[in-house]
Symmetry: D2
Subunit: 355 residues, 4 copies
Amino acid sequence: MAGNTIGKIFRVTTFGESHGKSLGCIVDGVPPGLKLKKKDLQKDLNRRKPGKSKYTTKRRENDNIIIMSGIFNNITTGTSIGMLINNNDCRSKDYKNIKNIFRPGHADYTYEKKYGIRDYRGGGRSSARETTMRVAAGAIAKKYLFLKHKIKIRGYLSQIGNIKCDFKNWDIIEKNPFFCPNLLKIKKIEKLICQLKKKGNSIGAKITIIIENIPVGLGEPVFDRLDADLAHSIMSINAVKGIEIGDGFKVINQLGSQHRDEMNKKGFLTNHSGGILGGISTGQNIIINIALKPTSSIKVCGNSIDNNGNEVKIITKGRHDPCVGIRAVPIAEAMTAITIMDHLLRYRSQCYDIL
Amino acid sequence: MAGNTIGKIFRVTTFGESHGKSLGCIVDGVPPGLKLKKKDLQKDLNRRKPGKSKYTTKRRENDNIIIMSGIFNNITTGTSIGMLINNNDCRSKDYKNIKNIFRPGHADYTYEKKYGIRDYRGGGRSSARETTMRVAAGAIAKKYLFLKHKIKIRGYLSQIGNIKCDFKNWDIIEKNPFFCPNLLKIKKIEKLICQLKKKGNSIGAKITIIIENIPVGLGEPVFDRLDADLAHSIMSINAVKGIEIGDGFKVINQLGSQHRDEMNKKGFLTNHSGGILGGISTGQNIIINIALKPTSSIKVCGNSIDNNGNEVKIITKGRHDPCVGIRAVPIAEAMTAITIMDHLLRYRSQCYDIL
Amino acid sequence: MAGNTIGKIFRVTTFGESHGKSLGCIVDGVPPGLKLKKKDLQKDLNRRKPGKSKYTTKRRENDNIIIMSGIFNNITTGTSIGMLINNNDCRSKDYKNIKNIFRPGHADYTYEKKYGIRDYRGGGRSSARETTMRVAAGAIAKKYLFLKHKIKIRGYLSQIGNIKCDFKNWDIIEKNPFFCPNLLKIKKIEKLICQLKKKGNSIGAKITIIIENIPVGLGEPVFDRLDADLAHSIMSINAVKGIEIGDGFKVINQLGSQHRDEMNKKGFLTNHSGGILGGISTGQNIIINIALKPTSSIKVCGNSIDNNGNEVKIITKGRHDPCVGIRAVPIAEAMTAITIMDHLLRYRSQCYDIL
Amino acid sequence: MAGNTIGKIFRVTTFGESHGKSLGCIVDGVPPGLKLKKKDLQKDLNRRKPGKSKYTTKRRENDNIIIMSGIFNNITTGTSIGMLINNNDCRSKDYKNIKNIFRPGHADYTYEKKYGIRDYRGGGRSSARETTMRVAAGAIAKKYLFLKHKIKIRGYLSQIGNIKCDFKNWDIIEKNPFFCPNLLKIKKIEKLICQLKKKGNSIGAKITIIIENIPVGLGEPVFDRLDADLAHSIMSINAVKGIEIGDGFKVINQLGSQHRDEMNKKGFLTNHSGGILGGISTGQNIIINIALKPTSSIKVCGNSIDNNGNEVKIITKGRHDPCVGIRAVPIAEAMTAITIMDHLLRYRSQCYDIL
């Protein structure tokens, strides 16, 4: 059973490899009657796009989205929406040398062992390029959620290496190439990345997602809790190694009297829970922290083996991000939006009578 | 769409409230031909059982498992396995006072708002009592995985409050009531819990799960990666607020050259990835860290509101664990086993030709 | 991947063998706030119950339904509903002789070959006894559909052998043991069945299901059309060999100008389509015809083989219905109700904005 | 919840409207290592293709399939396969007149009422053009099933109007434009269709699908029986109104002693069951009969209403098949193949240990 679909009611199914003809997806379950234009999707795709600044990969893709179906006169019809992005700037030659070699930290070894074959060009299906279609599908969800419920799903870079980027305001985020919410940290980040590029190395990052204006009641206990489904969708993003809801790992050292969110007439007094109790949204902001590992494609020489088990030394060529965490911001927003949208539709289906 | 089922091929569906007649589940997709007796399940249920020591809730339940179907002459037949545990020691009177009040940190508020009705007795469906059937179902998976592949799934308490329990050996774990892997820390934990009980307070915890002898190749990119599905199943456990695979949040501050696991002829040289690359198991140990919040049922007075929005003060009576993290060890093992089992069967279905 | 669950939003999962301790099911996705008592379920269970007349099997089961969860003060809470029926009148000894023999027309051979093991007692999981839980789950759906939408789902015996029972009125149906809608045919049926019992033989039947007051709009093209999902759920009933929607096989010889249902201001002028166009309900009555094969458990001697491939002669003992089609009426109603309920909830989830 | 996906392990998701840019699908769960070229798919697409003879619609589409992903050096990699067919010969102008009118027998009315909007051009998503992607996906399944198990899935026209086409041999079928298995009937069919075209009318048909060399053991009781899943997938084809397995509706008038298939050392003596017992394949040929209604797009004037409820007279223009049943042969083969493939993979996942 393959795993290229996410969501149960709002369903996203994707295909495509890094150096294949195209990347594509089908979004099923989109409510009819939603105004939807190409530019609604292109905006987020451009935020994710490579080659925008000297701080990300130099691969240049216009990531021009083509909507194939499900929309008539710019309105969704309730039928499945097919979308496509063609790959333009593949340099498959760069990858000939890794045809038989497993790059450390990459999925080369596991794909080869699992399937007995792999498309080695640009990492094939395991490439971060796969995430374009997540962003496109997520943009549909984002638009619907905001239009109908004013739900906002936004993220930012909250840490890179040891540089903590405490949140100042949302406006800053779109005005720098790092999705950093704090002007004072931008110079430091620039410096860090330049150093890493010089050394051919990379660094990890933490990003934070905030969901505002979410209604109380989303989430389906006991297994499809909202936090559980968010954990699934976010951990499915390349390079994610940890996820926290609300206080996350800080709870280990908290007392019950500290952690529990008390209430008064006006609502909750605190938000340690991160907006989810018993797997169901409380109506407070949902707060998610995500840890992303450093890019494995670096120019520092490393040890590995080839398909035949022989030991080799390898330097990963190609054009890569020194920190994949940066461009992960729109991707994590998209995955969050897909899951929230799915749960909004699930909520309506069972609880229709009391809405 | 309700969420009481987990797994796609090995499927577990549960029902039951804290103070209802019974808790039950149906496990579908169990391979035929597996020797399975009641005692195989009872062993793990007893590890999770309340009332075993003075350090956990005093509610006394024998948690006697009844297998209703799917087994003939102690061998699984391939048909669905129905199981039941009857509730014996309910004290529903304890909960009359919270009939109209939302206990802080509990799911009372969210269930009421979502469904317009809730079974307030003992927390109803949101009670940790629901996890018994997870343990029963997980025990079937554990048995199969060990018998056929020597896969071991085991957990321990790695931190409680600020007491870190560094791993010594597995034998210790079953010989103390805390699943602590380090004899030197047991006294400290006892003291901490006694203090908390005196104050009517509670504390968070971290637990660690290790999967040994797992074959390379489990996990279904791009959405049903092994890590994503593990994140889902573990985050679906009551009180879990964070999950890490391998180095987890430590990756934020790692360089690519530090994090990536290099290889030589004998295999991987390190295991920063925690045994999963590109969403597929590498064959190394899978390492999972989990953060659990402190019990919200405490005797420290707190502020809340009632069903009508009036402000109230509340002290949570009833019999509760001062640290839910402790008994979560067998539950997290069970959820891990369910997910690994599901992925083993998924792996076989698609990759049968190369096995 | 096992197949003991039906429905995507309204989900029914069952377990249980003919001679096991109990039969049970979990119904997930039931809307909260529905008044539901045991008697709501028992009524349909009694209609299906064996041993009611001399025209069905003599096995006497009270089929007393026990609701274990999901209901609080007789109102559904939105959590999963667990239900149980205990087996009382098993005569497993009757089946010792078929331990190693494949009864012709039964699932003995296929279960043995598929799973390598089978519970031969009473046919195990393949027994019609499994359908009790379908009826119980279906009764929940029926109650909701009628209460909220006045949707009525009713069936009758439309043919048995060569006796055609043209519909007269619904009242007659519940007043004879055959669910026959025509008083003039009852004597003939009684005579037919008495003859068959004397000869130890059995006969096929056709039943008809009518759904009234169904809203326009149910069904999810292109694969989960309402007719496709009805075909699935009804064909999943033991002994069903054919299904028709509307004119069914009669369309082979119809002209387009005869078949298509024209419309005027008041609605459709005819109902050849059987209430479904393009996989979506039209709002007209949905009409389904179902063919059920004759019981394979007969006293006429037949040829078969045993587990070792040796040829044997066999007479099937035990207590059996001379026509399984009769008791299939409440079962087919239940399966229809489950599917309609599932699609009602699906409809709401996607089309909420225009409802 | 939308319904554009079929299958649980071998999963096909489609998109596309009759007059949209393209039709497309994603096939997930294809085993890795299968040799697959464009021509493997094109062959069946050409069999389904419109405009091949004067007996089908004159719309000319080359139905040129483009494989976008999931194949590397002509071998499947285990990742999802994206496929595309561009629409070339749309005459959307032909449909302007039905923009606000519900064509009798079509899905115009139900789509409009369900979604509040519809792409009226060529019937939009409800067009038979949607089935191209079923044929493409089914061709992958067919290739795998034949290569690995010699399973053959083939169909023929068994009746059109009152012309019964009793089976002679498979070779004839591909040599006439009607998939008729009997040379003696071809002239009659030609004559019938010419008459219908002259009158602008249409006719129903029956087609038969035979599955040969299927292993014993496929099918997942109790709900996902092989016959139930076949009924689902086949009833999901446009225009299908009835389905039979084996003797189908003939069983109504059969005795148990006639119907049950007896066995001797060499196997089954008859095949009344149509190759499925208890929802599981017996290893005999699976025999399926399907009834397809006459095309609703005819030139005979009919009564209908428009979007505002006004009564109108309508003649359906455009280019249409006088008998949709003819081109349904490759479509029904494809849907059958998809379901058999899905069940083969399901079978392996649960019963791996005894294979």
